[in-house]
């Protein structure tokens, strides 16, 4: 008799993540509209919710066009990578105690590794499109990832030191007394910044930068391949939000409400924060972004790690 329980978990996680990603299109558009004194999509179905369906149908039915000048194989592969890596990351994310696809003892590292792989998608897309705007977008993306990936990992290590484990479940359980956002506030801020950069959303959407590079790395993409980038981006947003909730805000821990709901509430809060940032902030220039990353954020992350380590050592 095969144990169907892990398969069930996989199905549930996939169902939640993919639907949430699609639903986020609507959430983002409505929230942006709310903050921008307009209505947003409100025509299709109740509250415009049918827009999600309409959009997906549209994307699926559009002509699947590959530019004749593009590198065909890589061009097709690129959008797949971003979705695959983003979904794979959810394998180690516990949505509730015990409700996890694979409770790896190096969960945090797996998370970082997967999200780093995601950048290949953008770089390859920019390269394979054989379009100058795409290329510039791809180059920017790789430069940005290099700079922000480094301190993203470092900023997390404070949490790992406090919890004494790379396993996400252990990290959440270690926050029973106090959420890590309090002892690790600098780490949280750094991780948040790196997380936004990781998802390439405003103010870090330099690879896309629609007012400069038209649509950056996905200028040549259309139809569902473009849709995959879109979905990949939203899954990335969910991933970073859920990771922040787990690592710094006690995950599913909370009174009265069931654990899953607590995690959902915390995650949604950060998703809204992501959208609010997009509504509010301009985009820095990419040399500015790099110099902030290397000159300020990386030393800060190192300092945070040093201090945390020293304090933990002193207290033990």
């Amino acid at each position: 008799m095969i144990n169907l329980y892990p398969l069930l978990i996989i199905a549930v996680v996939l169902f939640i993540v993919l639907n949430l990603a699609a639903g986020l299109i609507w959430v983002e558009r409505r929230l942006l509209a709310l903050w921008q004194d307009r209505y947003g999509p409100n025509r299709v179905g109740p509250f415009g919710l049918g827009q999600v369906l309409a959009d997906s149908v549209k994307l699926f039915l559009k002509e699947d066009w590959i530019p004749p000048f593009a590198d065909k194989g890589v061009f097709i592969l690129a959008p797949g990578i971003i979705v695959a890596t983003a979904i794979l990351s959810f394998a180690v994310i516990p949505l509730a105690p015990g409700f996890v696809v694979a409770d790896l003892n190096i969960g945090v590292l797996f998370l970082l590794a997967m999200s780093s792989l995601g950048v290949y998608s953008v770089v390859l897309a920019g390269w394979a499109s054989n379009n100058k705007y795409s290329l510039l977008g791809g180059i920017r993306a790789s430069a940005q990832m290099l700079s922000y990936e480094v301190f993203m990992g470092l900023s997390l290590l404070g949490v790992v030191i406090l919890a004494g484990s790379f396993r996400l479940t252990d990290i959440v359980e270690a926050q029973r007394k106090v959420w890590f956002v309090i002892p690790q506030f600098p780490g949280f801020v750094l991780f948040l910044i790196a997380g936004v950069a990781e998802t390439r959303r405003l103010p870090f959407d330099l690879a896309e930068a629609e007012s400069e590079l038209v649509a950056g790395f996905h200028s040549e993409y259309s139809g569902m391949k473009f849709g995959m980038f879109f979905v990949g981006e939203y899954i990335g947003v969910i991933l970073i939000s859920v990771a922040i909730s787990l690592l710094y805000f006690g995950g599913w821990l909370g009174p009265v409400l069931p654990p899953g709901l607590w995690l959902a509430i915390k995650t949604m809060t950060f998703i809204c924060l992501f959208i609010l940032m997009r509504a509010g902030l301009p985009r820095p220039r990419f040399d500015q972004l790099m110099s902030w990353g290397w000159k300020y954020l990386l030393p800060l992350a190192l300092l945070n790690l040093l201090v945390t380590g020293a304090v933990v050592l002193a207290l033990s």
Partner: protein, 581 residues
């Protein structure tokens, strides 16, 4: 209204014996010169006369071959007309060079005034007049494959006069070949010793160019080595249309020059026309004009504000400023029924008196906007990322700005306090109190400061207009006022005849010419109108600020990066229709 003019004689002495002066209706000192003298005279005007004419203001030509009234002037086939300006004298000087159709050529003055570059190219494009010594004399507005020179009188003005359009294969191939990009033709190198350049085509379809503008970038990585703007995609022959329309029916065309400026364009055209025709608009008409024109300045600046923020990646402000603009449009709509293109000013006044309840609408808006502007200050101007993107980017000195004929808010951002409304007051600006905001470094952020402050000053002007609005008629009692006064048409036959002619045929203006420039939304907008004694213009020349500003772009962006290019484009506040006309 004009400040004390330098007498023609004084300048004539300075210029030497060769200059023959002419009296024109606008009182601008005007001199006729031979083609071989122009270069030397321009140099002297710029360098050696006391209080020199440091600013190249405009350059155009007139095809004189169809002219009936020459007023005993030169019998040339073409006249090239130069306008220079002196900030020290606060006056223009106009130089005219007659040319023969057999030798349509004058020496280029690009070595004296770099800003003349595009203007000479335009004259070449439109009239086929060559400028000897010009570094790059190619077409600028028309496609390179165009046959003929559109502003010549023998060039058809309507598509229907040109015969059916055909595109045989050979022509198609030739047209496509003409579009092939060769960096050398644009004055660009393919690389340095150690590196190849990347050429990036920004536009004509690009979200950051605000219209059909093409900029060819020569890139080393993301650094801009050189940038060449390619304009003309929005060229609709507005000047040619001026020759076909009557004086009156041309007004709606002016709305569409700076299409964000609405009645501001009417005002520029009519200020010049009324100078030509000698019409004085009554105080109420003046005040109504100023009030609505200032409202349009705010409308235009609001569009600029939002789109500028969007160009540096801030997504939301454009929605807020467009909402406010909508409020302003609702006032315009209540006043005249139209929104972006009101076509509301008339020769000698405005189309109608203000509607009942107008003052409350204006007051509400004037009370409403300051709080919003404060909010935008917080969300845009004080945003650190916005400042990081705009401070120290795309700056220029006052000298550079003058050298390249920069005007308006962009010039003031360099720290030069100059506003036509103050220095050469037209309409009723001399009765109104307002300040001229200036910047310091002329960078993108300073341009923003000036624009934002101008909106506050415009609000101040509107408030004064609402408070001080005089009574009386809003249209001039003048034979050329159009549409003519109707009140007495059924009482005496002369008025009826006059009215009938004025309505059916349009006002007839005695031969002559006039040039006047106003402080439009984006800089100095001037109309140079030449009458041949008909009911329409013989030559309409539109001097627009955006044309000069766009010409300056390469200077501003060299050595910067692509995002800076977009920030600079956004801050310059140009409109493609204003560049191409």
């Amino acid at each position: 209204m004009q400040p004390a003019l330098v007498s023609n004689e004084e300048l004539a002495v300075e210029l030497g014996a060769e200059a023959k002066s002419e009296i024109t209706r606008d009182g601008i000192p005007t001199f006729w010169l031979a083609p071989n003298e122009i270069h030397e005279v321009v140099r002297r005007l710029r360098e050696s006369v006391p209080r020199p004419f440091k600013v190249f203001y405009d350059l155009t030509a007139i095809d004189e071959r169809a002219r009936r009234n020459r007023n005993g002037r030169s019998a040339g086939d073409f006249t090239v007309v130069y306008h220079l300006f002196s900030y020290e004298r606060n006056d223009y000087v106009r130089l005219k060079v007659p040319l023969d159709i057999k030798h349509p050529s004058v020496p280029s003055i690009v070595d004296i005034f770099p800003a003349a570059n595009w203007y000479e190219r335009e004259v070449w494009d439109m009239f086929g007049i060559a400028f000897e010594g010009h570094p790059h004399l190619t077409r600028i507005l028309m496609p390179r494959s165009w046959q003929g020179h559109p502003l010549r009188k023998d060039h058809p003005a309507r598509a229907t006069e040109m015969g059916p359009f055909v595109l045989p294969d050979e022509k198609l191939d030739a047209e496509q070949e003409a579009l092939r990009f060769r960096p050398e033709e644009w004055g660009m190198a393919r690389g340095r010793e150690d590196t190849d350049f990347l050429f990036l085509n920004v536009g004509p379809q690009h979200p950051g160019t605000h219209g059909v503008l093409r900029i060819v970038l020569e890139l080393d990585g993301e650094e801009i080595v050189n940038a060449v703007p390619d304009i003309g995609f929005h060229h609709r022959g507005a000047e040619k249309m001026g020759e076909r329309q009557t004086w009156h029916t041309y007004i709606p065309y002016t709305d569409r020059i700076d299409y964000l400026g609405g009645v501001m364009n009417n005002l520029a055209y009519l200020t010049s026309f009324e100078k030509l025709a000698g019409i004085t608009v009554p105080p109420r008409g003046q005040m109504i004009r100023v009030m609505t024109a200032e409202l349009f300045r705010i409308i235009s600046h609001l569009v600029w504000y939002g789109t500028f923020a969007q160009d540096v990646g801030q997504m939301s402000p454009v929605f807020y400023t467009f909402n406010d603009r909508e409020k302003a449009f609702s006032i315009i709509e209540a006043v005249c029924g139209a929104r972006m293109h009101p076509n509301w000013f008339r020769i000698g006044g405005v189309a109608q008196d203000l509607p009942r309840g107008w003052d409350a609408m204006f007051r509400d808006f004037v009370n409403y906007l300051p709080a919003r502007l404060d909010e935008y200050d917080r969300t845009i101007m004080q945003n650190l990322l916005f400042q990081a993107r705009t401070k120290g980017v795309g700056g220029c000195t006052i000298d550079e700005a003058m050298e390249w004929s920069m005007t308006g808010p962009n010039l003031r951002a360099c720290g030069f306090e100059w506003d036509v409304r103050k220095k050469q007051p037209y309409a009723c600006y001399d009765q109104l109190e307002f300040d001229i905001p200036t910047g310091k470094t002329g960078d993108c952020y300073d341009r923003a400061i000036v624009h934002v402050e101008e909106m506050r000053q415009s609000l101040r002007i509107i408030r004064q207009c609402v408070d001080q609005m005089p009574g009386g008629p809003c249209n001039a009692e003048h034979p050329l006022t159009t549409p003519p006064p109707k009140a007495r048409t059924m009482h005496d036959i002369e008025t009826l005849i006059d009215h009938f002619l004025g309505v059916s045929w349009g006002p007839v203006v005695p031969a002559g010419e006039a040039f006047a420039a106003i402080e439009a939304t984006k800089g100095n907008n001037g109309y140079y109108l030449v009458s041949d004694g008909g009911n329409g213009s013989y030559r309409t020349r539109i001097r627009t600020p955006s044309f000069a500003h766009m010409q300056m772009l390469p200077l501003l962006v060299r050595g910067l990066m692509i995002p800076d290019l977009l920030a600079i484009l956004g801050s310059l506040d140009f409109v493609l229709a204003d560049i191409d006309r």
